[in-house]
């Protein structure tokens, strides 16, 4: 491997590319639109193939879309391909569920979060052609028909995800795709069809159909680029288009050889995956590793300069921003700001646990620093042997704002994965899918976002005999009221009973949803790039992958620890409040109990300040949740595992929770991130916070965990502080915390952006494992981000 040290100064000195800048501005200013074109093709296909099995219907629908959907390209583009002619379009996928669109189509342009413009013509076509056909037929409808009718109430405590869309959250076998291409994969499949068991025949046929479509899709771009080149008068634009055309043509029949070809091939893979599964968090994973040989060969043999390699990389970085995922209004609150989740990992260890950082890792960092858009979601994997140069390069990009790269800790993550039975080589080669969800590369359906378990709500129900403090409805078991629990242990036992009750219901719902995906959304294209599916002849949704997990999130450690610490101190240890009074105060949202609320807030220590006994409460309940969840198997025979992250769900999940014993008022957001302290309560500095977080057993959080820190930009302006920050991160590695990310932004800038959004279009903030444009977030989420504790002012 070549010595990257020789090229870093040169890399730093490369000026921004005019071509990339134009494409970048386009992304920031182009309005988003709803697109129903693919939905129309899908619907037509289903109408014509009513009698065929679902997997064949799905395959034909994708194939037809690949062959018929209108395509376009920008002459500035070096990497081409999209699933709509407009960028950042909101795609309707009727197979998953169309009911919500029927209800919300008129409000899409004006809703609080993730808006899309809608053409009137599309509303008419939607209502006349699409809705009548799909009404009661989509995944969401089918799930609704088999799940409990009281789901809405249940979801105040546990949100079951993936009910109206494909579940995504996967890292495909990119190496296999790059080494075979669709033609090579087709040969494998055709070999299998000949003498396969009849039960597997439809699966193989469907894979063959989608690969045929994929090949045609590439060919159509080759033709389009050629036609545009023919009518192009500018010579350099013409030669650029001809090169694009040549590459697309070649990829039809052959695997890529050059770096440019590999990038284009990779992008086609992700466009097609998004056409098949309209989902988020389909992630490329460790691109600096599997693309390295393509890059190095071109680079060493003189066909590729450093400048060109950076420009091509940035061209792909731009493309990652062309696809967004449109959610329903409720879901958009939980996953606000287009969490598309093209997660790219750089650095980390290799198969033998040596450092794997290479020149591409640095090129990707530089691309991130120059392009500064919300995608890809760049993640740096660090470990004990991470080179100082790489760590410092990461810190400099972090210091420039935008929250990337986020930092992952190999030293804690790899043991957490092997602890769940993952092979050590696969564990060392882990990727991140979406935000912070952990996955092995190319061989796992991790179903990372199966559900979000609101422990704070379950605690509320434990205090109030199973009744919701906000609505008075009975949601949980009647285990008693706070004043019925004679000791703190009695309260803990009741809490366990409630948790078990909700876990049991959650698991049943997750299994149902999982089975419905297998029945209604088989994914033959994804299966073609998932290890084991072709060998087994089984679709990935039906358990075809080598690893099969389901991830459920425990939400939220800080609020649970703070609330239980407050009850333990105020009611049982110091007895400064009668349990009946505390419960009454919670019911009244502390109205008339302001003194008590202040006591609870100010006189009892809080999680995140290195106060061991409080942190241990958080640890205890995470461990309990993990142990109980670990008793179950999912629909694909795999394990349930826990995650400690919320995406943006801490805001809507907080809306579901009444006043809490830690002094939090009803409906206020829960702590952000996953392992963060409640905003503003970590008053002892970032080292104390890391010490607190390290008390939560990271080994249990094999689905991923999240920690947000906010620093002031001034901190990063001093070279000596960068060195200090680097040792801060090295200590973070030793403390065995999985993840940390940094918002580097001034409070004043956020306030100004709220007032004058137009002037701050490109202000990026880290929400929770992903970066979003601050001005595209709803008010309450903006306010929550402003309230988080700032470090580094001193």
């Amino acid at each position: 491997m070549l010595d990257y040290n020789l090229y870093l100064d040169r890399l730093d000195s490369i000026e921004p590319f005019g071509r990339i800048d134009k494409l970048r501005k386009h992304i920031l200013h182009e309005p988003r639109y709803l697109s129903i074109e693919q939905a129309k093709i899908i619907t037509k296909t289903y109408r014509q193939n009513e009698e065929k099995p679902r997997i064949i219907q799905r395959a034909l629908a994708l194939k037809n879309a690949l062959e018929q959907i209108e395509i376009s390209l920008d002459p500035q583009e070096l990497i081409v391909g999209n699933r709509s002619t407009k960028i950042r379009a909101g795609i309707v996928s009727p197979e998953a569920g169309i009911e919500w669109i029927n209800k919300e189509i008129e409000s899409l342009p004006t809703r609080a979060q993730d808006r899309f413009n809608v053409d009137n013509k599309d509303i008419i076509e939607f209502r006349s052609e699409l809705y009548p056909y799909w009404h009661n037929k989509g995944l969401r409808d089918k799930i609704g028909q088999v799940l409990d009718e009281n789901m809405d109430d249940f979801e105040l405590a546990v949100k079951i995800n993936q009910k109206d869309h494909s579940q995504g959250h996967i890292c495909p076998d990119t190496e296999k795709w790059l080494s075979h291409g669709p033609s090579g994969l087709r040969k494998i499949v055709q070999g299998k069809i000949k003498d396969c068991d009849i039960s597997k025949r439809d699966f193989y046929l469907s894979v063959d159909l989608v690969l045929e479509g994929a090949i045609r899709f590439m060919g159509r771009y080759a033709d389009l680029a050629k036609r545009m080149a023919d009518s192009e008068s500018d010579e350099s634009a013409q030669s650029s288009l001809l090169e694009v055309s040549r590459i697309c043509k070649k990829l039809e029949s052959s695997p890529p050889e050059s770096y440019h070809e590999a990038l284009q091939s990779l992008w086609f893979l992700f466009v097609i995956l998004h056409m098949e599964s309209n989902a988020n968090s389909i992630s490329p994973g460790r691109m600096d590793q599997y693309l390295y040989t393509y890059f190095e060969k071109d680079f060493l043999e003189g066909r590729l300069t450093l400048d060109r390699a950076l420009e091509l990389t940035e061209a792909l970085w731009i493309k990652f921003n062309h696809i967004v995922y449109m959610r329903n209004t409720k879901s958009a609150k939980y996953f606000a700001g287009f969490t598309t989740g093209f997660n790219v990992a750089i650095g980390g260890v290799d198969d033998d646990s040596n450092d794997a950082t290479n020149l591409l890792s640095f090129i990707f960092l530089r691309a991130q620093d120059q392009v500064r858009l919300s995608q890809p979601n760049l993640s740096a994997r660090i470990h004990n042997k991470t080179p100082e140069k790489f760590l410092n390069a990461c810190i400099k990009v972090i210091g420039n704002g935008g929250g990337m790269p986020q930092i992952f800790n190999d030293e804690s993550i790899i043991p957490a994965l092997t602890n769940k039975g993952i092979d050590i080589k696969d564990a060392r080669n882990y990727s991140i899918v979406g935000c912070v969800e952990l996955s092995t590369h190319g061989n796992s359906l991790g179903w990372s976002d199966a559900a979000m378990f609101n422990m704070v709500k379950v605690l509320e129900l434990t205090l109030n005999n199973g009744y919701c403090l906000l609505t008075g409805k009975k949601l949980g078991l009647q285990t008693g009221f706070l004043y019925d629990y004679k000791t703190y242990e009695d309260l803990e036992n009741a809490f366990k009973t409630q948790i078990n009750y909700f876990i049991d219901k959650m698991i049943k719902a997750c299994i149902t949803v999982d089975r419905m995906h297998a029945a209604y959304l088989p994914s033959p294209f994804l299966s073609s790039v998932m290890e084991n599916c072709l060998d087994k002849g089984r679709d990935v949704t039906a358990g075809g992958a080598f690893y099969n997990f389901s991830g459920v999130q425990c939400i939220q450690v800080a609020n649970v620890a703070d609330s239980l610490a407050a009850i333990k101190t105020s009611v049982y240890d110091e007895k400064f409040v009668m349990p009946v009074t505390l419960l009454e105060a919670l019911r009244k949202n502390f109205k008339g109990h302001e003194i008590l609320r202040n006591r609870l807030l100010n006189k009892i220590p809080k999680y995140g300040n290195d106060v061991e006994w409080v942190d241990r409460i958080g640890q205890k309940w995470v461990a309990y949740f993990s142990k109980e969840v670990g008793k179950y198997r999912n629909a694909r025979g795999g394990l349930f595992q826990i995650g400690l992250y919320t995406v943006s769900a801490h805001v809507p999940m907080g809306l579901n929770v009444g006043a809490t014993p830690d002094g939090r008022l009803a409906k206020q957001p829960l702590a952000d991130g996953g392992l963060s302290a409640v905003y503003g309560r970590d008053q002892t500095g970032p080292t104390a916070l890391l010490n607190s977080v390290s008390r939560i057993d990271s080994i249990l959080a094999s689905n991923g965990s999240l920690l947000n820190l906010k620093f002031l930009p001034e901190f990063f302006q001093k070279e000596s502080n960068i060195v200090k920050f680097s040792s801060f991160l090295r200590t973070f590695i030793k403390l065995h915390i999985h993840h940390v990310q940094f918002n580097v932004v001034r409070r004043e800038d956020l306030l100004a952006a709220k007032k004058n959004p137009e002037a701050y279009r490109d202000l990026l903030v880290r929400v929770a494992g992903y970066t979003a444009y601050f001005t595209e977030l709803a008010d309450d989420l903006q306010d929550e981000i402003i309230r988080r504790t700032e470090y580094g002012a001193d």
Binding site: E594, N598, E719, F728, R730
Partner: protein, 320 residues
């Protein structure tokens, strides 16, 4: 002798973690109470007096007035014009602390606390992992750490026993014997020199700096690792003459001792406002710009002293 006289206990006003301006690496800084100087601009006014005072912060007060009823000395009363203003009759207050623990909003607080060396060590040891990774450690600041010299020495000795790097930040207004006692347990001395001219020093800090200058020369002969810091306070210390004089003094004492300039921080004013006290500068006074600071650094360099910028020592000639 009681624990305070022996130095087993002492009075501090804060322990801050993740301090990044008090020496190399990531550090914890212990702020001790009591100072022989009385600088008008002091940004830690709570560190001046060695005794503990009770304060009321109206910005936190929720006007519940529990404190008034709970005070056994009847030392607290509600101000006539504002419900969230509590008057403290210091002649009655015996600092029993009942109001502090009873106040639900932490609006009543002591500006210091009596702690043992053991308690401090327990607290600073929490960040040992960060010190090790960053070559950081513990800094004693204040106030003036020599003001509680037995206590300071015992903290520093215990840190050394624990393998923690130590820095003391001092104005050097002390005796030679005291300096001798600290040579072994301090890894680096940070010396704050404010004003060179003797009369001005007396006017603005209420202390004679002849002692400081003599001690500086004495210390420079005894220990290697010294850093001089000058706080840039507009109108008081940040004049070209003063900077030039201090730089010349340092350079002629030992030219390898570097000087670092600490920019004026207007936030320090806030502490006075919260305590209803006058501050020596108006709120319109801004920190110095980079250019202005560079001009001051140029004066120092011309005087032949080494400088520290962004924690990097810049010397004219390399020291062997």
């Amino acid at each position: 002798m009681g624990p305070i006289e022996t130095g087993e206990s002492g009075i501090i006003f804060d322990i801050r973690r993740f301090t990044i301006h008090d020496g190399p690496g990531l550090r914890s800084t212990v702020f001790l109470k009591g100072c022989p100087l009385d600088c008008k601009w002091c940004h830690n006014p709570e560190g001046k007096k060695s005794s503990i005072d009770l304060w009321h912060f109206k910005n936190k007060c929720i006007a519940c007035h529990i404190c008034v009823g709970k005070c056994p000395q009847k030392a607290l009363s509600v101000s006539a014009d504002k419900a969230n203003h509590i008057n403290i009759d210091k002649s009655l207050c015996n600092k029993c602390g009942i109001c502090v623990s009873e106040c639900p909003a932490n609006a009543l607080a002591f500006d210091g606390r009596l702690v043992t060396v053991q308690e401090i060590i327990q607290e600073v040891k929490k960040d040992t992992a960060f010190y090790e990774e960053s070559h950081g450690g513990v800094t004693l600041s204040g106030g003036e750490p020599f003001y509680q010299k037995n206590f300071s020495r015992k903290i520093l000795e215990s840190c050394k026993t624990e393998g923690i790097n130590t820095i003391i930040e001092t104005c050097l207004y002390t005796t030679r014997e005291t300096i001798d006692e600290f040579v072994e347990c301090v890894d680096e001395f940070i010396i704050d020199i404010k004003i060179f001219a003797r009369e001005e020093h007396i006017v603005h800090t209420r202390a004679d700096n002849e002692i400081i200058k003599a001690n500086f020369k004495y210390l420079a002969k005894k220990v290697n690792s010294i850093l001089v810091r000058i706080p840039l306070i507009p109108e008081f210390t940040a004049t070209p003459e003063n900077i030039q004089q201090i730089a010349q003094f340092v350079a002629t004492t030992r030219s390898d001792i570097p000087i670092e300039l600490i920019n004026y921080n207007p936030l320090g004013r806030n502490k006075y406002v919260l305590r209803n006290k006058e501050f020596c500068l108006s709120d319109s006074v801004k920190p110095f710009t980079d250019d202005q600071i560079n001009d001051f650094y140029a004066i120092i360099a011309r005087a032949g002293a080494a400088i520290v910028k962004d924690d990097v020592i810049i010397r004219k000639t390399k020291k062997k």
